[in-house]
């Protein structure tokens, strides 16, 4: 097995048993998602070697066993880096001092430190004391510092949880670049569907210490039996294979299976993904002619599931890709929607968030 294999089955605290098993693929980003208190941080801590008390945990990477029945590799010997929710900068050092702390202990190879400083826009902050940074700046330094260690595996524990939306969006942009250009295996813990949609390749869903579902991101997102579908921010991800900037409209059009989807910003690469919140998708029986909505896609209703008395979730097929739509029970009744129907999905362009 290449990559990181984790197998934990033991009580972590009174009344809470951690029972989880998954593999994080080499070079990919695996998200660990679940509500607060589902044991996500304990899993990261076990991987990092910060929980020697979890004697039943088995963690192995590539050919080496990190934690096992009679094995425990000290945290500082594991080729990983850990980005904590609270940044944890060394308070007696400057930004540069924090980066160099990791650099001096870095594994061989990896990115140039200057490149990392530029990626995270840290050059103007280099001499600032670590205690004088805003939450967003602190987290940028923390992520840059983790990368400066040149780890094989990067663990991120809700790194954006304490940031305002603008700072979080900036961090996501930086993390996407890391994902794209650095050869890293990332394990990203979050309870937010939008972050996971933007960053993850694989998704492990957790609840109360156990795995609910796991697999490639789109597979898990589009299942309608994981509990994720009833989350108000449920979303799906479409992959595009070509992107063109339309100068006259200042929109970018992305090719999704031969259909253009317009997004309101430039995309950094020609191939990537678009996150579409299920609540931003509406359904028409016939193709609307006089609508302000630019994105109208011919889709097939693949599955439906009730969310509550008022809402239901549809899984729509679009040339082999899936799209979620959250509509009201009343609309479904009026349109007489059922599985197999061919309909049109409308998505407001301004609601779309492209990624790579």
């Amino acid at each position: 097995m290449n990559g990181l294999a984790v197998d934990i089955d033991q009580p972590v605290k009174p009344g809470f048993r951690l029972s989880i098993r998954f593999e994080a693929r080499e070079g990919a980003t695996t998200a660990l998602m679940g509500p607060s208190g589902s044991g996500k941080t304990s899993v990261l801590d076990a991987i990092a070697g910060l929980r020697p008390d979890l004697v039943g945990a088995s963690v192995s990477y590539a050919d080496s066993q990190w934690s096992g029945a009679d094995q425990f590799l000290a945290s500082w010997r594991r080729p990983l880096a850990y980005v904590f929710q609270d940044g944890r900068l060394l308070p007696h050092l400057s930004v540069q001092g924090n980066l160099l702390y990791a650099r001096k202990r870095a594994l061989p190879g990896g990115l140039n430190l200057e490149t990392i400083i530029d990626w995270f826009e840290l050059r103007p902050l280099l001499n600032a004391p670590a205690t004088a940074l805003s939450a967003g700046q602190r987290q940028r330094v923390a992520i840059a510092r983790a990368i400066a260690k040149n780890p094989r595996i990067m663990l991120l524990d809700e790194p954006l949880a304490n940031l305002d939306p603008a700072a979080a969006a900036q961090c996501i942009r930086h993390l996407r670049r890391v994902r794209r250009e650095a050869d890293l295996t990332m394990l990203y813990v979050s309870h937010r569907i939008d972050e996971v949609c933007d960053l993850a390749d694989y998704l492990v869903l957790m609840d109360s210490g156990s795995t609910v579902a796991e697999g490639p991101l789109t597979d898990v997102l589009n299942r309608l039996d994981t509990g994720l579908e009833s989350n108000p921010s449920a979303a799906s991800v479409l992959k595009y294979t070509n992107a063109q900037w339309e100068k006259e409209s200042s929109l970018c059009r992305c090719d999704v299976g031969g259909h253009w989807i317009y997004v309101p910003q430039r995309v950094p690469t020609n191939e990537g993904r678009i996150r579409i919140a299920a609540k931003d998708v509406s359904i028409c029986r016939s193709k609307p002619q006089d609508t302000s909505i630019l994105n109208i896609l011919p889709v097939t209703v693949a599955a439906t599931t009730d969310i509550d008395a008022a809402h239901l979730m549809l899984r729509l097929e679009l040339d082999g890709q899936s799209l979620l739509a959250r509509i009201t029970q009343k609309s479904a009744r009026l349109l007489k929607l059922k599985g197999g129907d061919s309909v049109f999905a409308q998505i407001k362009s301004t609601a779309l968030v492209p990624g790579d």
């Binding site: 500082w76 702390y101 990791a102």
Partner: protein
């Protein structure tokens, strides 16, 4: 200052004793404080009680037991004689040993407090950045405990300067070997030489005051600098600070 040759000798001896004791105390006190900061349970409580004993015991009690155990026919005294070929009792080494025991709480307690107040989170963070325990001690624990080290060193030094009871019991007032300033002063008073007693008393008083003043002023300066810098530089990027 108008000191006699004997008094100068006492000054030099006192400073020597304080310096040697401070170095030894910091070297011994640091691992003890580290252990105490990382241990729980009744063993720690017992160790803390033993180390704190000199704070409450009359120095004569401590001095009495030390006198007994330094005697040539005691196990420690005999061991010392076999190792170094000279008696431990009434020697400079005996004073150093005595001061180290006497001043240990003044070194261990500030260091233990400082070590324990370093967040566990920072230890685990530096470990994930590849820092070994030894590395973490020098690059995390020591820099974050800088003030405690300064305080511990200054207190050990000042406390050894002011030592009297223990030295009186185990020293024997041998000029050049065990006659420190406080003892010399005591002997001046005993022999009714008040002008000489005044000189020494004033010297000790002034030195201690200057030492403590220097220590507190440095702390005050640091605290002041820290708070003003927090006010001015909350967001260096926005203020155009930084590079």
């Amino acid at each position: 200052m108008l000191l006699s040759a004997g008094e100068w000798q006492a000054v030099v001896l006192t400073l020597e004793l304080a310096a040697v004791s401070t170095v030894i105390l910091l070297a011994l006190g640091t691992p003890i404080a580290l252990w105490l900061a990382n241990t729980r349970g009744s063993l720690r409580a017992f160790a803390e009680a033993v180390i704190a004993l000199p704070l409450v015991l009359p120095p004569t009690v401590l001095g009495f037991y030390l006198l007994i155990s330094f005697a040539p026919d005691s196990p420690l005294g005999a061991l010392w004689y076999n190792a170094f070929g000279r008696d431990l009792a009434f020697s400079f080494s005996a004073l150093v040993l005595g001061s180290c025991i006497y001043s240990m709480p003044f070194v261990v307690q500030p260091l233990q407090l400082a070590f324990a107040s370093i967040p566990e989170d920072l230890h685990s963070m530096t470990a994930t950045l590849g820092a070994s325990p030894w590395d973490r001690f020098w690059t995390l624990t020591v820099p974050l405990s800088k003030r405690a080290f300064m305080l511990a060193g200054a207190l050990a030094f000042a406390h050894t300067l002011g030592e009297f009871g223990v030295v009186l019991m185990i020293g024997g007032s041998i000029p050049g070997e065990t006659q420190v300033l406080s003892i010399a002063l005591y002997e001046h008073v005993e022999s009714m030489n008040y002008p000489a007693a005044h000189r020494l008393a004033l010297l000790i008083l002034a030195t201690s005051l200057i030492l403590l003043f220097a220590l507190y002023r440095r702390d005050g300066w640091r605290l002041g600098a820290k708070s003003s810098h927090l006010h001015n530089q909350t967001h260096p990027a926005e203020n155009g600070h930084g590079r």
